[in-house]
């Protein structure tokens, strides 16, 4: 059975806690980004690739929905599901999952492939594109969360 990718467990740092006594909103982004770094290794876009200095990945957009507060001592993992793959970019979604099983936040992002000589957006190498397409086909068996692509709004 297909399952989304899950990152190794991650812990909160004391200086990420704000005056509300919980994980500050900005540091959910740090945890999601660490989760993407792990998942990118699946596609050959990890440190081995980016450290060569010719190509890398940039974030074009990222969105977080805050579902539940996190406190110091919590351990979370980030899931990763591919939603769409283009020649130079991919669209993905994530959940930040507490060690007790509940979802603390959701993430949705666009990652760009970058030629560092510009820097400019550039097509993926064939082997990376093939791997992205393979994982996309596997993840297509998973339901698309209903919050993906939803516009931002307030309830009245």
């Amino acid at each position: 059975m297909t399952e989304p990718y899950l990152s190794p467990p991650m812990e909160l740092q004391p200086d990420w806690i704000d005056q509300n006594g919980h994980l500050n909103m900005a540091y959910y982004g740090v945890l999601f980004d660490m989760g993407v770094d792990e998942a990118a290794r699946m596609f050959g876009l990890g440190w081995d690739y980016t450290s060569k200095g010719t190509h890398t990945t940039y974030s074009a957009e990222f969105r977080i929905r805050y579902v539940r507060e996190l406190h110091l001592g919590s351990t979370v993992r980030a899931s990763f599901r591919l939603l769409d793959v283009g020649p130079k970019a991919y669209h993905f979604c994530q959940e930040l999952i507490h060690s007790e099983g509940w979802v603390a936040a959701t993430g949705e992002g666009i990652s760009l492939h970058i030629d560092q000589s510009g820097p400019k957006v550039a097509p993926y190498p064939a082997e990376v594109k093939a791997k992205l397409d393979e994982v996309l086909a596997q993840h297509a068996a998973l339901p698309v969360p209903d919050w993906v692509g939803a516009p931002m709004r307030i309830r009245k």
Partner: protein
Amino acid sequence: MTHDPQPSLTGEVIENRYLGVEMEIRPEWIDFNGHLNMAYYGVLFDTGSNHGFRALGFGADYRESHGFTTMTADFRIRYLRELHLGDVVRCSFRVVKVGTRAFHYCQELIHRDGWISATAETVNLHVDMKARRVAPYTEARKLALQAMAAEHAKWPLPDWVGLPLGVRS
């Protein structure tokens, strides 16, 4: 939200933007790409909303005297241009829509040289600190939000507000 209570941090309106103080990039926020890591734009947008929250009366004194705080429900960043160590930026703050227990706002992260590095869009909730539940605004805070929304409605609404995410094929 951090809502730094320092009263010296105030905003000013310049060319249809309500701007906060200048902020610097910290060395530990630079990633393996040699630029500001995507996650720390969030820190700048959060810090760069303080002038707006303070003007609305959501500072530390409100939390202590009324038992309410604010929490983020939804936050989205569009990355337009890289930032590097040594860059100085300011954040704008514009109210988009006000509800009974939440409001929607948008921001631009503007480099000292005038270009926009990133945009953000946020839904912020009014929360009863003890119950940890969303609660209606007090009358004074609702009036402050509506007054700011009316003031900001005189400025054009950025065309990226409310757009879905996606890749170009």
